[in-house]
């Protein structure tokens, strides 16, 4: 990794990162403020209980999970669907900005004209992307911790840290295949289309898999099955194996991306 290049690239990402983090933290602030009011209202809990399990699955809420906890509330309202889609799209967009766009525009010619190897340039860009994902996830977890502390909602902090680690591994995998498409297609639009297409494909498989028992097998082909925020927060799912598997997948994809990038013609 090249420190100078890392600093410059991370600085380029900073404004977007700040906007996303601020938006997430403010939304979490709103949810944690509203939760005590809702949790005291038993009618709301009854409504949630009466929702069919299929619909709950579509919205990322575990059918077996309790409906009266903060974990169930924050997962249904934010973490299971909205957050995962936001971070996935952010990862793809950032991968595009860091690799396909500079190849497309030709601005990558400047770092490539320095005595920094292609492998080093790609690992630096990967480090920037991971740092951006980590910052966004840290802001999310920190926002929830501060929000719950402020509104005196009791949570198990260690489980939120586990969720953050799982999220980092999960979104790194999405970012890794986005990078792979960028290095392979060398065309910003194509690379984005492949990455968005694959991610929405996985998302759709996950939703279809949750609709009925008969279609449950479809969900097994989706990487979203590894991302279970509510179960992690409630302590009913140990994310260690998923974290290891997703990280291994990311490393493998990065190695392939480096190989492709090293062997490619770059007519910049």
């Amino acid at each position: 990794m090249n420190r100078a290049f890392f600093g410059a690239m991370f600085r380029q990402q900073r404004p977007k990162l700040l906007k996303f983090s601020t938006g997430i933290v403010l939304y979490e602030g709103l949810l944690t403020w509203v939760y005590p009011l809702i949790s005291k209202n038993s009618a709301v809990t009854d409504i949630v209980d009466s929702i069919p399990s299929t619909v709950k699955t579509v919205f990322g809420v575990s059918p077996k999970a309790r409906a009266d906890t903060f974990e169930a509330f924050i997962s249904a309202q934010f973490l299971a669907r909205i957050w995962s889609v936001i971070i996935a799209l952010y990862g793809i967009n950032t991968a595009n900005t860091l690799l396909s766009k500079p190849i497309d525009e030709g601005s990558l010619v400047f770092p490539l004209s320095t005595p920094v190897s292609r492998t080093n340039i790609l690992t630096t860009q990967t480090a920037v992307l991971l740092s951006c994902n980590a910052t966004l996830i840290a802001a999310t977890v920190l926002g929830l911790c501060v929000g719950t502390f402020w509104f005196r909602i009791r949570i198990r902090y260690s489980r939120y840290i586990s969720l953050g680690t799982l999220a980092l591994a999960f979104f790194s995998l999405i970012s890794s295949y986005s990078f792979l498409f960028a290095a392979w297609a060398k065309d910003g639009e194509k690379a984005s289309a492949y990455a968005y297409g694959l991610t929405f494909g996985f998302y759709a498989l996950d939703v279809i898999g949750g609709l009925s028992k008969r279609s449950a097998w479809v969900g097994k082909f989706s990487i979203f099955r590894f991302f279970k925020p509510q179960e992690v927060l409630e302590g009913t799912f140990d994310p260690s194996r998923a974290i290891i598997g997703l990280t291994a997948g990311s490393i493998l994809l990065t190695v392939i991306t480096i190989r492709i990038f090293n062997e490619s013609d770059l007519p910049l």
Binding site: A4, S107, P115, S117, D265, L266
Partner: protein, 291 residues
Amino acid sequence: MIRLEHLTKQYPSGKGIRDINLQIPYGGAFGFLGPNGAGKTTTIRVLMGLLQPDNGGARIKDLDCWQNRTEVKHVVGYLPGELHFPDYFLGSEFLELMRRMHGGKFEIQNNCKQLAEHLDLDTKQSIRKMSKGMKQKLGIISALMLDFEVLIMDEPTSGLDPLMQQVFIDLILEEKKKGKTIFMSSHQFQEIERTCEQVGIIREGQLLTVQDINRIKQMECHTFEVEVENEEYAEYLHQCGLEVYRDKGLSFIIKITGNFDSLWQVLSGIKVKKFRQRFLELEEAFIQYYR
């Protein structure tokens, strides 16, 4: 110092370069001329390790430009033909990044300041707000500030005004004095003529000729257009013993090899309405390859 051997690189479209052989010695300056799409930029991209040759190879300081592309960058200052800077930087920030990616030597910073002064560029401006000419100056600074042994420049004066083109030529002459090896593609005959010792012409991917500029100058042939006042002078021109061709009406083309004494002698005996030199020396010698 720079050696191309049977260098071939074809794009899927069929365009590219074929079997290019070339050698530039230490301290030599080579000008690469040719029409658009002839293969100048492709050759330069191979030299910079951006493209892998299909056949043959390119070497700089005995390092293979593809296999040892990272090591090659320790000795090469490069100015690309198409300048697309990351525009979220200030000019100075971009130069600082390049300096640090080249190992962060302090001397580079000094060179950078001097070059910015020479080229009259305020590097504290945002790249986004810079004009094409200003970006070109920034690219020139980023290539020259490194003070490396080899300079590879793709159409370096594109977008510069005539005054700055002159400043650029002066800078290159300074670099030559320091013993740098220069490989420069251009459409500007004058720039090549004033800075390079060797010139090569490439067309449709093939290197047509490589010639020594001093030899061309020794054999220099100048073409002039002369318009005389009446038929009597026209007749006089025809019989004066110079190489004279009638262009149209009372206009003539006169070709002179060697010194101009005979031309001045003839012209002193007639009334001339118009007189102009047709091409610059090098342009005259090479324009046929462009057609």
